[in-house]
Amino acid sequence: MSTYTLSRGIQRAGRTAYKQGHKPGENPWSLSRMVALLVLAFLAATWLVPFAWAVLTSLKSEADAGASTLSLSPPDGFGFDAYRKVLSAGELPLWAWNSLLTSAAITLVTVATSALAGYAFSRVAFRGRRWLYGAIIAAIIIPPQLLIVPLFRQMLAFDLVDTYWGIILPQAFAPAMVLILKRFFDQIPVELEDAARVDGAHRLRVFWSIVLPLSRPILAAVAIFVFIGAWNNFLWPFIVTTDADLMTLPVGLQTVKSAYGLQYAQNMASAILAALPLVVVFLFFQRQIIKGIATTGFGGQ
């Protein structure tokens, strides 16, 4: 954890403590607060245990991981052997690349198309607007999981099975994000745009140089959600790829799990390597992520 996030965390904790206001006379170190602190610490520790244990296992030798359960002093000691093996022999880096490429493409297309459509719904009185908008709202309720069979048939027909496009296209739009962006655009005062339009600026120009710069925070939140969702998605990439060279990280890991079988240290090393990018993303963007969830109520899964 960087000192930056640390200091922000402390600031925020301080602010909340202030906001919660132990009024003068209320003891911040009262017994009930201490009990609450202990309960909280216990719960948080419980939540971190699976991580800690996975890290511990990944640092053991394969023999030690498969021999002793709770040992904190394995005979072979701790080391990065499992990571070295997974990175050199496995296809992990390739899968990570596939995940990065497809998730980035999905994010780019989704954000661009949702922002354009959201703007049209918010500001442009086009024919059929209400009809299309109603269709999008209705579509939010359709779980993509139920469309796997017809979508797969479509991919066969388009010859997109085992291609990047096959992974990307069916994930590259999100009705919920259109709604979120429309709601945000609705709040931007129209007067800001009117001045530019009176001067003869085209809609696209207004959108690009006035609306988008004002929408950076919401665009960032939407982009992060879409990226996390795409990075972690399992079912669709699992269905549309059979070629190991095209698998995304979650799909590839599933095959590792079956292939390595009893190699626990390597299993845990792969899992941790796969989790790492998103943890880094979170540490960089935690404010946007938290704000995004708080204000929109939508997330990845």
Binding site: R12, A13, T16, K19, Q20, A36, L37, L43, A44, W47, L48, V49, F51, A54, T69, L70, A112, L116, Y119, A120, S122, V124, A125, F126, G128, L132, A135, A139, I141, I142, Q145, L146, L147, I148, V149, P150, F152, L169, F185, D186, V190, R197, W231, N232, L249, P250, V251, L253, Y264, A271, A274, L278, V279, V281, I290, I293, A294, G297, G300, Q301
Partner: protein, 314 residues
């Protein structure tokens, strides 16, 4: 829903063309512009949602298989077969059971966590990080962690039980325990999202309400039930709606943890749809079950909507 489009400012602009001809042209231009903006999204939306949804409905009335043989219309045969299929009912039952078992703690515990963290105790960022971090993991990673935790011989849980002198439990292999294990994993994985929603809602409750209540002599617990819980009602409604819909669609963690076993005791309806289509190659039948399940989702959504609207009405 009032939108900016109807605002007088924009309406004025549109008519600014002067004569009626100009206004009509302006309106046509506006339509073209709107469609140009919406077209990229609309294209993907139609191609990858509307078309497969309609095509799936058509498939559900056919005997379609992987190779495309027997693709003839067979009417409602798939549907009547599904309604008499004990495996379908079992998967559906498992899914509803999982939804109930997961939704209740995912709402109550996330509220408890948020209340605790919101007390203003030191270390706030650490608590928030601990509870939220698992939410960022891919299902595959979650499953790798937890199949190791649940490992009958080497797993941490049985290891700790052994230290306490308790006999090992076959967490994923015992039909009576497997669903609970799946729920525990799901709880660990996804609680962070609900937790953050509650935390944000808690911070929006005006401080003055607590001060007023304290002056009136209301204790902390009284404040919790008279101020906090009612103020959180809209958030609870949102969490409940999202959670039920998410739980009904469960697939990843169960498929990878237990593969629906032992003996079909954890198989979800989405897994049954997947298996009918992709291992049984019965695309028509799989589509029919999809639509039956979709009907259930629509019913649940309507029921939730009515319940929530009635409760929030005065």
């Amino acid at each position: 829903m009032p939108t900016a489009v109807d605002s007088p400012a924009t309406a004025g602009l549109v008519v600014a063309g002067g004569n009626r001809m100009g206004a009509a042209r302006a309106r046509r231009d506006e339509s073209l512009t709107g469609w140009a903006f919406a077209a990229p999204f609309a294209l993907l939306f139609v191609l990858f949602l509307v078309v497969p949804a309609v095509y799936g409905l058509y498939l559900s009335f056919t005997g379609e298989t992987l190779t495309g043989a027997n693709g003839k219309l067979i009417g409602l045969a798939n549907y009547s077969e599904a309604l008499q299929d004990p495996d379908m009912w079992r998967s559906l039952g498992n899914t509803l059971w999982f939804t109930l078992l997961s939704t209740v703690p995912l709402v109550l515990l996330s509220l408890a966590f948020a209340l605790l963290v919101n007390l203003g105790l030191p270390g706030r960022w650490l608590w928030r990080l601990s509870f939220f971090l698992p939410y960022l993991l891919a299902s595959t990673v979650v499953v790798l962690f937890w199949s190791w935790m649940y490992n009958p011989k080497l797993g941490l849980i049985n290891g700790v039980l052994a230290e306490l002198g308790i006999a090992p439990v076959a967490w994923l292999q015992d039909p009576n325990v497997a669903m609970i294990s799946v729920v525990v994993t799901t709880l660990w994985w996804t609680i962070g999202f609900n937790f953050l929603l509650y935390l944000a809602a808690l911070q929006n409750i005006p401080e003055q309400q607590f001060e007023a209540a304290a002056i009136d002599g209301a204790g902390k617990w009284r404040q919790l039930f008279s101020i906090v819980v009612p103020q959180l009602a809209p958030t609870t409604a949102l969490i409940l709606t999202l959670q039920v819909l998410a739980s009904l669609k469960v697939f990843d963690q169960i498929y990878m943890l237990t593969n629906g076993g032992p003996a079909g005791s954890t198989r979800s309806i989405v897994q049954y749809i997947y298996e009918a289509g992709f291992t049984g190659y019965r695309f028509g039948y799989s589509s029919a079950i999809s639509y039956l399940f979709f009907a259930i989702i629509v019913l649940v959504s309507i029921a939730q909507y009515k319940l929530i609207n009635r409760r929030s009405a005065p």
